[in-house]
Symmetry: C2
Subunit: 436 residues, 2 copies
């Protein structure tokens, strides 16, 4: 082992080092997610970073399965780093399906991994906010998930001029596709293709679509559906009505009404071009996009009523949302909304003479144990003025000076912003501090 010494090893491409200034951003984003989740009634959970490989081969969609980081345990069993947390959620809920009180409103902020080529807003290692509601069939649950998403976006200063929640329904899409004449078994691969529509030029999309759907009139009808701007427009352009479609329309209308009651209708719009790539969606689907359209989706989600059953549990309605940290951070930075608080010291403790150095330790440790962020200079030879300079650089609210006054048991407490200072008896200082 000693032979590999003295070498410089870089970090792995697509991963991030979080220096304190980067960590402050990460914490600010994650703390915001957690705060909004809690006030919307979600409880936090988490699973392991790795699971058995087969877990992710059940329903995660081809793109995700191709990009798994796989590893083996000591017994040679195949494991994988989690690329999403929904399969873990399904596993955990199924394990305790009979004892968990319903509705299950859970959130998580998992660290996730995808072995893809790193691009803008897509890294190999990232954080993703997930909120899920399990056990509620009503679109009210979808409305709660969307409201929670918007509640967060609004809380960091984004407005309906910056971002839009685009909402559609897999149920509606499948009903329309089947009416157009697409057979049931062709639906899943078609979703993956349709999901690419907003990401490629219109012509390219139609060419790609024509390769999967030979009949030109069918291609035309699919494009017409996906371009519709409103539900009435849809009803007008596609005359055939099935029970399935009536139900899907009713769901979306009820959802939009509920979102209006919740006061976020300005953020929300119906958009039939929203499909979502993952195979497990069954009902309402949505994505949040920046209005300028420069970035990838900020988040996406929807209903996945079959997933728990697919993981060996009972049939159970479920809906949820996932928002990564990378695109969000790019957007907030662009909008000047990355308002990460500046680090501030409560106290800096300085000493005028080396003989007080031991007393300084004592005062520092008392301040800290009472919850105050307190610092001092490690350089025991630093002059008082140099120490005060450090206090100022470190953005201290107060500077405590241990000088000649300490012989009479007094401290000098300087308010760094006001520039004022006063002499206080040590015990009195700590007694008053306690009451803060």
């Amino acid at each position: 082992m000693e032979s590999v010494e003295s070498m410089k090893i870089p970090k792995v491409i697509g991963t991030r080092d979080f220096y304190p200034e980067d960590m402050a951003v990460r914490n600010w984003i994650i703390d915001g997610w957690k705060r909004v989740s809690l006030r919307n009634g979600f409880e936090e959970y988490d699973g392991p970073i790795f699971e058995y490989l087969t877990m992710f081969q059940i329903k995660s969609g081809e793109e995700i399965v191709e990009q798994l980081f796989s590893l083996k345990d000591r017994g040679g069993r195949d494991l994988a780093l989690r690329p999403e947390i929904t399969p873990t959620l399904a596993r955990m809920v199924n394990q305790r399906i009979n004892s968990l009180p319903r509705p299950i409103k859970w959130f998580s902020v998992p660290r996730l991994f995808r072995a893809e080529r790193p691009q803008k807003g897509r890294l190999r290692e990232f954080f993703q906010w997930n909120v899920d509601i399990i056990g509620v069939d009503d679109v009210l649950a979808d409305a709660e998930v969307i409201f929670t998403t918007v509640d967060y976006l609004r809380s960091v200063g984004l407005t309906s001029k910056d971002v839009k929640v685009k909402i559609s329904s897999r149920k509606l899409l499948s009903a329309v596709l089947k009416q157009i004449g697409i057979s049931e078994d062709k639906l899943n691969p078609l979703y993956v293709l349709l999901d690419k529509k907003p990401k490629v030029p219109a012509e390219t999309f139609e060419t790609m679509l024509s390769e999967q759907v030979q009949d030109k009139s069918k291609v035309y009808k699919i494009v017409q559906f996906m371009n519709a701007a409103s539900i009435p427009q849809l009803e007008a352009t596609l005359m055939m009505i099935s029970d399935e479609r009536i139900q899907a329309y009713a769901d979306i209308k009820k959802l939009l009404l509920t979102l209006a009651f919740m006061g976020i209708d300005d953020f929300c719009m119906f958009d039939p071009s929203i499909v979502r790539g993952l195979a497990y969606y069954t009902g309402i689907v949505f994505e949040v996009h920046d209005v300028s359209g420069d970035l990838r989706a900020i988040c996406g989600g929807g209903r996945y009523d079959n997933l728990l059953r697919d993981f060996g549990g009972p049939a159970m309605p479920a809906t949820g949302m996932g928002m990564g940290d990378c695109v969000l951070e790019i957007l907030l930075r662009k909008k000047g909304l990355l308002n990460v608080p500046i680090r501030q010291l409560d106290f800096f403790v300085a000493f005028a003479d080396l003989r007080w150095y031991g007393d300084m330790y004592s005062i520092i440790s008392k301040l800290r144990s009472r919850g105050f962020n307190a610092e001092f200079s490690y350089n025991s030879n630093a002059s008082l003025s140099k120490q005060l300079k450090v206090a100022s650089e470190r953005n201290a609210k107060y500077c405590i000076i241990i000088g000649d006054e300490f012989k009479d048991n007094n401290l000098v407490v300087k308010d760094m912003e006001a520039g004022k200072q006063e002499e206080v008896e040590v015990d009195k200082f700590f007694a008053e501090l306690k009451r803060k």
Copy 2:
């Protein structure tokens, strides 16, 4: 992929599912670590979950290298899940060695991985609190690390009757071993063996030691050193004094004096049997043990002045500590100190009649967006009394009832603990809430 449907897959052995009640414990422990780190002047950092495998082969000690979870990236390069964060810290600091202001006082709460057989207090996936000070040669830095450790342990209610910080010095141990006649190149493997002393019966230890050190008188002297109860006793039993030993003694004495100034001398004791298994320690080493001795070490740390240089950087003094979550949780549970706060709702909003259901959404969403944790019943057919029962089960502070009074724009606000209720005009309610 569809063929693997409907199967129940377990979690991987040695990993943990964090259901909300487990997550509350994890968050409570980690939040405590973070709070104490910040008040002691440490800034948070983190690195990637995986690094190039070679990173961990440099200085991590044989036991750790054997227990790595390894994986490959798309290009076939060998990676490993981090078993500790110190190599990442060394890499990150070296990368910015010229621009980082010193001293570097950093902390982290990394998720770590070891592919070992799970045992009590040792899992394959765990969290570890790390605090490190880089750039300070003085034992003051070691004292700060130890104080921060004790500051946390005290903050959760542990006393000096529950836990002890056992302190020794690798410098002292190496000076003693060299004086006894152990050659320099035999020191590293000997440390690994000596580290096992507290974990095996005295006889077994002496037998193991005799296999590495043939000379019986040397074995006797090593055991005598490691059993010494105090510095004076050491000086008396081992008469030979070298400059190196004098310096090592002086360091420990200064450290113990500083810890006394900091007011934690009751927690700290000199114990020459503390060695630490890792190869990179160079000076002060310490471990925290529960006084009953039933558990593994709660944490361990020490000085590692050569590590940055070993990772291709300059020579740079450094010292730090690592505390895992597993043993700590067992200890706190045993002592009845796992005081995880009980989840409480600020508001539960109930409605007396279905016609107010939409207004309920509106009130709920306003409460949440103002930062209050607010919930309601998903069952729109639930009677008012059933809703109030749910409010009570969910531990709500207040219950807002939307009933007949709402026709006059009034809400009924019920204080659930006091059992009192009052009628408030909706706008007045929100105006007063704002001022809370």
